[in-house]
């Protein structure tokens, strides 16, 4: 086992490697060179003086934020000899399952391609490019014939795969007992119980102020709200990501949210970012991809039918079409158990030299994918800013919701966590639902896969995502799912079918997220 010191130096080396050659690096170099003109820089203490200057002018903070960003996404430390695939996913059987799932998806995509005789990618003729450019701001008005396209998969298909996961080394031949797991997920991953969750989510405790609870009209603003907002403004002035992440655990005031999220995600909107977005846009204009149709279909089926997000339809195309072509997204596959699908140039099947990642960003959208973007349209309306924030949210969090891994924020762990919480704290309810053929996960799964987007009212969703960012973890989704069941337990005890249970839980739009979470975590009698 490595000692802490070696672990740290490996991490530092990794981060330095990552940041070298980045935009920030060149900016720092330029700043350092330019500051040599300044009077306070003396030759005797050149190094110290330059450092001091960079600190005072806010560049050190920017560097800190970049480092912090890398730390946030870095996988847990592992053995230096561990191969790359182990870093993506240490457990072999899960790697295998992810691999087979990917094969299935790709097969489905390819067969759709063959059925409809549409190439996976095709260059657009010039007049078509011009036309698309003209209607770039209103692609929603287009009515392409999407009837032949179907989503490659829906969350419930993915659920079936997860249900069938089995650890070959795990002997589950014991007779089912009260100790055995009642739920659908049958893999032995470690998940937190309520005492551990209370520790992890300490800032949500009953004695701390919360936005989403202590900012209602009955509570005077000076009890918590005004002070918290003041601290938020200070954090923004300091531009410190780590401080922002800590701050947002208690929620974020409406007006500060757009900036604070961008700060936490270290999502900048510099000219380089805008230029990059424009490049992606021209990529969309030049080539038509099969997945574009999947995106159109998904937006039309989900976001356009939503009572609140329908307004943002055009933005969704502008983000998702560019997203599909963004090869920067490929970097996240280093720590994602998934592997980007490969396609081969016509006629060169199997020849690695002719393999391309398809789609270019390696992510095949599924039914409901556009709902990851929709809530962000509430906060950002410049396309490049919206894009950068979404991309960062995806490579930090959302990808975990549709890939098979053992990571604590991965969907498998979230499902298991949800079921364990329910079994431990609402055993009567769980048993009853099982008996009537309404396994709770069958209802809660779609909420978690979408991170509750489209199920909660927008303001509640944003308060929830505040905490996802603040704790850098998706575990709160599992806790909320369990809390919702706890809240509606009485009604659920009276139902006698899966359909009736679904009906009780069909409408979450009136729920207040923070009180539910607080009560479930901190007021549950154990």
């Amino acid at each position: 086992m490595m000692d802490e010191g070696t672990e740290l130096s490996v991490t530092i080396a990794q981060i330095v490697q990552k940041l070298k050659g980045s935009n920030l690096h060149s900016q720092l170099e330029r700043q350092a060179k330019e500051c040599l003109q300044r009077p306070e820089i003396q030759l005797e203490d050149l190094k110290e003086d330059v450092k001091e200057f960079l600190k005072k002018s806010g560049w050190e903070t920017k560097l800190q934020n970049a480092v912090y960003r890398e730390l946030n996404v870095l996988p847990p430390p592992s053995h230096p000899e561990a191969p790359a695939e182990h870093i993506k996913e240490p457990l072999a059987y899960l790697r295998k399952a992810q691999g087979s799932w990917e094969k299935r998806i790709l097969k489905s995509l390819n067969s759709m391609c063959t059925e409809l005789s549409i190439p996976l990618a095709r260059k657009r003729p010039v007049n078509e490019q011009k036309e698309l450019l003209n209607k770039w701001n209103e692609m929603g008005t287009d009515e392409p014939d999407l009837s032949h396209f179907r989503p490659v998969y829906a969350p419930k298909d993915f659920l079936e795969v997860l249900i069938n996961l089995r650890n070959p080394n795990y002997d589950s031949s014991d007779q089912p007992s009260s100790k055995s797991h009642w739920g659908l997920i049958q893999v032995p991953l470690k998940v937190k119980d309520i005492p551990e969750l209370r520790e992890s989510f300490a800032e949500l405790g009953l004695n701390s102020g919360q936005l989403g609870i202590d900012d209602t009209t009955q509570v005077p603003a000076d009890v918590f709200e005004s002070e918290h907002a003041g601290i938020g403004r200070k954090v923004l002035i300091e531009q410190d990501s780590a401080a922002a992440e800590q701050y947002i655990r208690q929620g974020c005031p409406n007006e500060l949210r757009a900036e604070l999220w961008a700060l936490i995600l270290n999502a900048t909107n510099e000219p380089e970012d805008i230029l990059y977005y424009e490049q992606l846009k021209s990529g969309v204009l030049h080539h038509d991809l099969l997945v574009d149709n999947l995106i159109y279909k998904d937006v039309k089926l989900t976001a356009s039918n939503d009572d609140y997000y329908f307004v943002f339809e055009d933005y969704l195309y502008q983000v998702l079409l560019c997203f599909s072509r963004d090869t920067v997204v490929l970097e996240h596959f280093n720590y994602n158990s998934a592997t980007p699908p490969k396609s081969y140039i016509q006629g060169k099947l199997g020849l690695e030299d002719y393999a391309v990642v398809y789609p270019p960003n390696g992510v095949i959208p599924f039914h409901g994918f556009s709902m990851y973007v929709a809530p962000l349209c509430f906060l950002y309306n410049e396309p490049s800013k919206l894009y950068t924030v979404f991309r960062e949210m995806y490579v930090r969090y959302f990808f975990r919701l549709h890939s098979i891994s053992s990571f604590s924020s991965g969907i498998v762990s979230l499902c298991l966590q949800f079921e364990s919480l329910l079994q431990t704290h609402l055993p009567q309810l769980f048993y009853h639902l099982r008996e009537i053929g309404a396994q709770p996960l069958r209802i809660a799964f779609k909420w978690m896969v979408r991170a509750f987007s489209g199920y909660l009212a927008t303001d509640q969703l944003l308060l929830l995502w505040d905490r996802v960012l603040g704790y850098n973890s998706l575990e709160i989704l599992a806790v909320l799912a369990a809390a919702v069941f706890a809240f509606r337990a009485q009604n659920l005890m009276e139902v006698t079918s899966l359909a009736a249970a679904e009906a009780v839980l069909a409408d979450l739009s009136t729920l207040k997220v923070m009180p539910l979470l607080q009560i479930f975590l901190f007021a549950t009698i154990m």
Binding site: T141, N254, E255, R257, S304, F310, V311, E313, D314
Partner: protein, 442 residues
């Protein structure tokens, strides 16, 4: 939800005031039933039919309450005798506020008055309607203004029609030749019937857009008396979105520029299930997230100002009648500087529901309207909130806080309006009823 209200509103509650007339009964006893008449077949009919103790009457039977249409009112109001307790849902000459040409005339006159009496700054607070001219009678004035702003876009609206009918945009004078006063019409044409009265209004070219789309706000204001002026503002309302992205380049596209649901419904890609509305609460949250609470509070204060000043401008003109109340639908447009503009006031806002959510909103609105009209005689008259309605003006501004107005300068008080805030009507009505029954004389 309406069923739940039944228990809250049974008429066996405290009764105040003298006997109600036709159905003779003993002093101090509540009216056994309230006879209502309603010719509209939509939400209001449902709400009236479900109200405890209210009975529908038809044809020529006597009634205590009539939700009539404006046509009936115009023909019959002057000929009927109404007993003291009777209520009807329109004022005799509401059109002073709701017909576009008359509203503009009244507002302009009021503005002049304010300028004389209170100065320019005060008068400027009436600048919430775009430059408007009635055609053909103000044609020449219009042309002067038109020439002063070359390239501007104008919108023509028929004075008396609704639901977006007959509206069009124009940029060239030749498009409105028909409304030219004493125009070069041939002898044959002069025999034709007079051209319909229109108003030409400066089109707001920089509307506030969300998702690239234009929208307007529908807000509900209930007036129970003009002299003294008593007006209530409903917390719920909605933003109506145009189905397509806003662009000035295509002024022929009816669907972009008009956000009236009635017009949108005929657009080729209209999906009735979809709906194109946001609840007011959603809009308020969105704007607060974008612009901060302070700016949004200022915006809503300015919107309050539109209601008050428009009502004040017709206060002396409207024939006040204690039998009358009126529920107005105000259409407000926001521009990019977050300035609100008054587009129109409707005396008969659409009560047909476009979706389940819309139906529920209109039910709440109408139930609370009936609570305020208070045929059951339960209220004390001192209430500042009834259901989702907040008392906005009671012969003077109404403040949120219960402070003696003489003690403080009025500028430091917060107005008692909550447009786009949480509508806590259920809790509020329960508490109100409890307190009213607590005052019941034994």
């Amino acid at each position: 939800m309406v069923a739940a209200n039944r228990e809250l509103l049974s008429p066996t509650m405290v009764h105040k005031g003298p006997g109600y007339g036709y159905q003779k009964k003993r002093e101090g006893e509540p009216r056994s039933c309230i006879r209502f008449k309603c010719t509209l077949i939509n939400t209001i009919q449902d709400v009236l039919r479900q109200r405890a103790g209210w009975v529908e009457v038809k044809d020529d039977s006597e009634w205590d309450f009539y939700w009539c249409d404006v046509g009936w009112l115009r023909e019959n109001f002057d000929h009927i005798y109404m007993e003291e307790h009777v209520r009807i849902c329109h004022f005799r000459n509401h059109y002073e506020l709701t017909r576009k040409n008359l509203m503009v005339k009244n507002l302009k006159r009021y503005r002049k008055l304010l300028e004389r009496e209170a100065g320019r700054q005060e008068a400027a607070k009436c600048d919430f309607f775009p430059r408007t001219f009635e055609l053909p009678c103000e044609y020449h004035l219009f042309v002067e203004e038109f020439k002063r702003s070359p390239g501007s876009t104008w919108i023509m609206k028929p004075v008396a029609r609704s639901q977006g009918k007959g509206i069009f945009l124009f940029r060239k004078l030749k498009d409105i030749m028909d409304w030219k006063k004493d125009g070069n019409r041939s002898e044959d044409q002069k025999d034709e019937t007079q051209v319909e009265s229109y108003v030409a209004q400066r089109y707001i070219e920089n509307p506030y857009l969300i998702g690239g789309r234009k929208f307007d706000l529908r807000v509900y204001v209930l007036v129970t008396s003009y002299v003294p002026l008593k007006a209530w503002l409903y917390r719920d309302g909605f933003a109506r979105f145009s189905l397509t992205r806003f662009s000035l380049s295509c002024i022929d596209d009816h669907y972009v520029h008009l956000t009236n649901v009635a017009v949108q419904k005929t657009a080729p890609d209209y999906d009735p299930e979809k709906g194109c509305k946001w609840q007011m609460q959603q809009l308020r949250r969105y704007l607060s997230a974008r612009h901060g609470t302070q700016r949004v509070e200022e915006l809503f204060r300015n919107i309050d100002g539109i209601f008050i000043r428009s009502l004040q401008s017709v206060q002396k003109v409207i024939i006040n009648d204690k039998h009358c109340f009126e529920l107005y639908g105000y259409d407000i447009l926001l521009d990019q500087a977050l300035k609100p503009w008054l587009i129109e006031v409707n005396a008969s806002p659409s009560l047909t529901a476009s979706s389940q959510e819309d139906y529920e909103l209109k039910c709440r609105l109408l139930e609370d309207t009936l609570h305020i009209v208070d045929m059951e005689g339960r209220l004390t008259g001192k209430e500042k909130q009834i259901g989702g309605f907040d008392l906005m003006w009671n012969d003077g501004p109404v403040s949120k806080d219960d402070i003696n107005l003489d003690a403080l300068g009025s500028s430091t008080l917060t107005a008692n309006t909550h447009l786009g805030y949480v509508n806590d009507r259920k809790t509020q009505l329960r508490q109100l009823l409890k307190s009213l029954s607590g005052q019941k004389k034994v």
